[in-house]
């Protein structure tokens, strides 16, 4: 007599018996889809395809979000209409603290306070505070999620996971870790949430830490692409090296298991428009809900710190350290502070500093990278608190500080050796 539950073999014998009586497999034709399904996971063909797919992704991101919407439309709308209009109708005027907070703080040129001519420099809640999320970031995030939803619904991601498993398993992660990493390129918050399927606490801890340090979000990428398109290659290279390098080190020092991949590779499917639209809507609206309040708050806090002199004080106090260790000027204190709240806002402020011409190209590069790695934005930070236990959380923070100091210093050092710092 059989015992319940059945053994693996008994169960399969039963299934075969049942399926013989109920299932009829007709002539099976090998389709083009089957061929593609395999070609895209074979290394020889799959890796070039992966590169092409990612390149297509990136081009779309730049053309759609950057060129079409931001440069073609939004920059003009904000800089040529919104800002001048506010400057003309808002009570107070240059020098008035209330006006400075909400519209335009202005900046010093030859000892005279002059009005800003774009929405990155002005730094008011109503100007930069709206330009950053709605003028730049929204389009970047929308373009990103559109492409991502297509890739996931077609069924490409598991294949990408298999292809990168070779590399990621060497640093103790699954190929599957590509999904949270990729998703985090849109926004770190859902990226951190997407680490939940990872199997062991070690893998989750590593992933969350690496994500929050080395993966810039779409908002940030959008602004970076807007400000320093020529540096993007170097910035990404630096981040990838950091991700893999520190992943390798973390894998060595963190206790725990890194089990190997056992994963179903589903067939390709035709994406459904309705599903793509609803995903886009859910993800983008969630993003705005997280981002907009923080950007506005960030503008306000930074504005207040400037007005009260706290920012200048911090710049003087921290300036020497920033200069000697990372090779960036004290003025970067302001973006670094804003970056606690929102990275996109912070990079935007950096743009303001660049336009005033106080930084060399290498300093811009270093500050942009520093902004990526020194702290996850507040929303991500709060989520880390929730997702990790306190030991892991402290571990993440400690790793974060160590990575920033070591890697930031290293970049400076390389810069000195290359003679560009």
């Amino acid at each position: 007599m059989l015992k319940v539950p059945l053994s693996v073999d008994e169960r399969w014998n039963l299934i075969e018996k049942i399926s013989k009586q109920t299932v009829e497999f007709g002539a099976r034709k090998h389709t083009l889809k089957d061929a593609i399904a395999e070609l895209t996971v074979k290394p020889l063909t799959g890796i070039p395809v992966a590169i092409a797919v990612l390149y297509g992704f990136w081009s779309f991101f730049i053309d759609f979000a950057g060129t079409l919407f931001t440069d073609g439309f939004m920059v003009r709308l904000f800089d040529e209409h919104w800002l001048p209009w506010l400057q003309s109708v808002f009570p107070g005027g240059l020098g008035n603290p209330f006006y400075a907070l909400l519209v335009d703080a202005g900046h010093m040129e030859n000892g005279v306070l002059v009005a800003s001519d774009n929405c990155l420099e002005s730094f008011g809640v109503l100007t930069s505070g709206f330009f950053v999320p709605f003028g730049v970031v929204l389009w970047a995030v929308l373009a990103f999620y559109l492409m991502f939803a297509l890739l996931e619904d077609v069924g490409y991601l598991p294949r990408l996971a298999v292809l990168v498993d070779t590399v990621l398993h060497k640093i103790g992660l699954h190929g599957y870790a590509i999904v949270p990493t990729f998703l985090a390129l849109g926004c770190n918050v859902p990226g951190v949430t997407a680490t939940r399927p990872l199997e062991t606490r070690k893998q989750r801890f590593m992933m969350i830490t690496l994500l929050s340090v080395f993966v810039p979000c779409g908002a940030q990428i959008g602004i970076m692409q807007d400000l320093v398109p020529e540096l993007m290659g170097w910035i990404f290279l630096t981040l990838v090296i950091g991700y893999l390098g520190f992943g390798f080190i973390l894998n060595k020092i963190v206790a725990g298991k890194s089990p190997e991949i056992i994963m179903d590779v589903p067939p390709y499917r035709m994406p459904m428009l309705k599903n793509i639209v609803s995903k886009l809507w859910i993800r983008t609206s969630r993003f705005l809900l997280v981002a907009v309040p923080f950007v506005l708050l960030g503008c306000l806090i930074v504005g207040l710190m400037y007005l009260t002199g706290a920012m200048d004080w911090l710049a003087t106090v921290l300036g020497p350290f920033l200069m000697s260790w990372f090779g960036v000027p004290g003025e970067t204190v302001a973006p670094l502070i804003a970056g606690f709240l929102r990275k996109d806002l912070a990079v935007g402020m950096l743009g303001g500093l660049m336009e005033q011409g106080i930084m060399t190209t290498f300093q811009v590069f270093t500050s942009v990278v520093l902004l990526c790695i020194y702290f996850p934005c507040l929303a991500t930070f709060a989520l880390m608190l929730k997702e990790e236990n306190w030991k892991e959380f402290l571990g993440s923070i400690a790793s974060l500080i160590a990575m920033v100091l070591v890697y930031g210093g290293l970049i400076h050092l390389v810069g000195i050796m290359l003679g560009v710092a």
Partner: protein, 176 residues
């Protein structure tokens, strides 16, 4: 319940009107979602359980799935199967039936199975398993009315009964 990528989330969204992300990759739902569906004049709770291939967990999603199953001893399980891969779908369905849960089997992706020239005799399968079996196409909603109407027919079935209906089965020497 069902494998990853068989359309569970599409099912869930249709039945509850909720919005859960549907994706074509395994392991999307580790956080399960609860929703309410109208059933027989009442609101009953429905859970979108993470994808699992079996009740022997090999990853986190499967661990969560098993835990949810165990915490809801007196619920009806809708087993969503990929009709183009019935056999391995039945493996999970049988495991759940063996544990004594009342089950309704949805043969989803019926359209995909047809494209692949796979024909399933759903009525005969229903007779052998002794639980309702309904062909469905989640993305178009086909078969959903019938599925919902058959939920109340779901009742626990003894595995011995299924074996008998299938015409017996050799017990394996090694039990795994």
């Amino acid at each position: 319940m069902g494998h990853p990528n068989v359309g569970k989330s599409v099912f869930f969204n249709r039945l509850t009107g909720a919005k859960v992300l549907e994706s074509n990759y395994p392991g999307t739902t580790v956080d399960f979602t609860k929703g309410w569906m109208r059933f027989g004049g009442e609101d009953v709770e429905l859970i979108d359980v993470p994808g699992a291939f079996s009740l022997e967990p090999k990853d986190r999603a499967e661990e969560v799935a098993v835990k949810i199953l165990e915490e809801n001893r007196d619920s009806v399980v809708i087993c969503v199967l990929d009709a183009s891969k019935v056999e391995r779908g039945l493996y999970l369905a049988l495991e759940i039936i063996e544990r004594g849960y009342p089950v309704v089997v949805a043969l989803n992706m019926w359209d995909v199975a047809e494209d692949k020239n796979i024909r399933i005799d759903a009525e005969k399968l229903e007779r052998i398993l002794g639980v309702p079996v309904v062909p469905t196409i989640a993305i178009s909603g086909e078969g959903f009315k019938e599925l919902v109407s058959k939920i109340k027919e779901a009742a626990p079935v003894k595995i011995e009964k299924i074996i008998e209906n299938a015409g017996g089965v050799e017990s394996a020497a090694v039990s795994g």
